[in-house]
């Protein structure tokens, strides 16, 4: 047997490197950005450019100023670091720009429409000013709620089958493939599917809110399956083994150990799936239709929903286009608030159910 030899550095002839190097002041990025903006505005004013032109120029200048300054003072490695950091920040800002301006638009145009009447009245017998979206809010909650009731059991059980029981056989591969295909189904096709199904059962011209729920669950199931599958896969096998070793049968292990461990992720996934389908328009337009009055019964007659309300307010403006447009923006704001609230709830739930590690 040979003992491994260790390469030792040959004594004290290594020069010790200095540990401090020159550094730009902390305000350097802000300074260069300010300088770049100043130069760009000046140049833009002189050459009478548009604001967009000035912004692009300012950005380019900032991208040159800071790294150059850094290169002169701090050396190459830090200059590259500064350049890349600046690039990352600007792409981030670019990505946020449309989102922020969208939210700004919706709030600015939608907020004036909000009033007590807006939330408590339907559009029954309303011509012109006034009226509200009560019927559409009720419809959205009923239809999405029913869709959730249908999709969650199917989706979660399918994921449990895939992860816990299938042992990656042929059936599992087929199911996974179908789920993948379903994820890509255009929502209008889901609507057509539900419509065709209900025409088959109830005859032509059928409209009901429940049909919308069916269409939405076609869209929701694959999302729920995927989210649950990922969460179940994250549960370590050691926990399952610990449970088996205590003589706990498989189904009890799944119900009492695996699902609780993955619960926060699953619930988060479900909530995000709800948020995702709550804004669907096309399928609801086909099968749930649009209505001006309140309908609490998802199993008969047309039922209004927020997205469809927005759509028809814009497309059927009639003699009072301002009122219609304002209500559309108001409904859009409410829809965004609902979706955001769902996202927040998902986070909260995730935190509440997360496995506890602290003391």
């Amino acid at each position: 047997m040979t003992t491994p030899t260790i390469n030792r550095p040959s004594g004290g002839d290594r020069a010790s490197l200095p540990l401090t190097t020159p550094q730009l002041p902390p305000i350097a990025p802000a300074l260069s950005a300010g300088l770049a903006v100043g130069v760009a505005v000046l140049a833009g004013l002189l050459l009478s450019w548009s604001v967009v032109g000035m912004a692009v120029l300012a950005w380019l200048l900032a991208m040159v100023f800071l790294p150059t300054w850094s290169l002169l003072l701090e050396g190459r490695r830090k200059a590259v670091d500064r350049l890349v950091t600046a690039l990352v920040w600007s792409t981030f800002a670019l990505a946020m720009l449309p989102l922020l301006s969208l939210i700004w638009q919706v709030v600015a145009k939608g907020a004036p429409a909000l009033s007590v009447e807006f939330f408590t009245y339907s559009m029954r017998n309303v011509i012109g000013e006034g009226g509200g979206i009560y019927h559409a809010i009720v419809g959205t909650f009923l239809i999405t709620g029913l869709a959730t009731l249908i999709s969650v059991p199917i989706g979660v059980l399918a994921a449990i089958y895939l992860v816990e029981y299938s042992s990656e056989g042929k059936v599992a591969k087929a199911v996974t493939f179908l789920v993948d295909v379903m994820t890509g189904i255009p929502s209008i096709v889901a609507g057509l599917f539900a419509f065709a199904l209900f025409v088959l059962i109830f005859g032509p011209g059928i409209r009901m809110g429940f049909g919308g729920s069916i269409a939405l669950s076609v869209l929701m199931i694959p999302i729920v399956v995927r989210a649950t599958e990922e969460m179940l896969k994250l549960v370590p096998d050691e926990l399952r083994e610990a449970s088996y070793a205590l003589g706990v049968p498989k189904w009890r292990t799944i119900v009492k150990v695996v699902l609780p461990t993955a619960l926060s992720g699953i619930v988060t996934g479900i909530t995000l799936a709800i948020a995702r389908v709550a804004g669907e328009t096309a399928p609801l337009l086909i099968i749930a239709g649009s209505a001006t009055s309140l309908n609490w019964n998802p199993f008969s007659e047309r039922m209004a929903t927020l997205p469809v309300f927005i759509f028809s307010s814009i497309t059927e403006q009639g003699r009072y286009p301002e009122a219609q447009t304002e209500r559309a923006w108001g409904a859009a704001l409410v829809l965004i608030i609902i979706v955001m609230a769902l996202n927040l709830i998902a986070r909260l739930i995730g935190r509440v159910f997360a496995p506890k590690t602290g003391r």
Binding site: A242, A245, L246, T357, R359
Partner: protein
């Protein structure tokens, strides 16, 4: 209560990979048997085949016979769940249930099987098991706190408490002390000494002194060569194993000379 284990011509596979070949031995009831051998020689694999935990891994299978108290474990119609209720196991890595408190972790074996019991009965099981695993003093004031909030060694003792809370007939321990300090280790060894009056215990260990201290009999596993399946080299009483082993290879391994 305790039962003996008869192993004959046991071959253990992971898919097509033959991990352990041709094991024959008899583990006596009410005694401690130690498994020793170099890493990767199949100690854990053999241990897991004794309570049908091996087949939990996809593609894993076993050929041969394991007879516990006269009953063959791998006969048709034998329910692995029933087997595991009688043959408890402590794993190489601690694995408390993250969603459960310390209290619930100890009772997991009972609770997960929906066994009904009164509060004071449950309390006494928890106290007895935690005392048995030498953890009681450290956690008695925070039984409601999550089991994952304990240190690694405490978690391992929690897992031991969980395993003995269901009072199995046989206790399989896979390196239960590898994450423990000397004090906890000696507490576990004391525990093993106490338990062996009622239980049959099989313990995997890399610690020769530990094997010598706690076990009556020792099994030495080895690989013929890398890539070859592991096999049982020698199975003997511990005293003979450590003083005058039959096999040259055993002597070499125990005294620290390899190859």
């Amino acid at each position: 209560m305790a039962k003996s284990i008869d192993i004959s011509d046991l071959d253990i596979y992971y898919g097509d990979f033959l991990a352990v070949q041709g094991v024959n031995m008899t583990v006596k009831a009410r005694s401690v048997t130690a498994f020793i051998g170099p890493s990767g020689c199949g100690k854990s694999t053999v241990l897991r085949s004794l309570n049908r935990m091996h087949e939990v891994i996809p593609g894993a299978r076993v050929e041969g016979k394991v007879v516990v108290g006269g009953q063959s474990l791998y006969d048709e119609g034998v329910d692995p769940v029933a087997v595991r209720r009688q043959i408890g196991m402590v794993f190489q890595r601690p694995n408390p249930f993250p969603t459960m408190s310390i209290y619930e972790n100890v009772l997991a074996g009972n609770r997960l099987n929906a066994k009904r019991m009164k509060k004071d009965e449950a309390d006494s099981i928890v106290e007895r098991s935690l005392k048995g695993a030498n953890l009681w003093e450290e956690v008695k004031d925070r039984l409601g706190k999550p089991g994952m909030g304990l240190s690694g060694g405490q978690q391992q003792r929690l897992c031991i408490a969980r395993a003995i809370a269901v009072e199995p007939q046989i206790l399989l321990m896979d390196e239960p002390c590898s994450a423990l300090d000397p004090i906890s280790t000696s507490a576990i060894e004391d525990l093993i000494h106490e338990l062996k009056d009622d239980y049959t215990i099989v313990i995997v260990t890399h610690n020769m002194q530990q094997a010598a201290r706690v076990s009556e009999e020792t099994a030495f596993f080895n690989l013929k060569a890398t890539g070859e399946p592991g096999h049982l080299v020698e199975f003997n009483s511990t005293s003979q194993m450590f003083t005058n082993p039959d096999e040259e290879a055993t002597e070499a391994y125990i005294s620290g000379r390899f190859g």
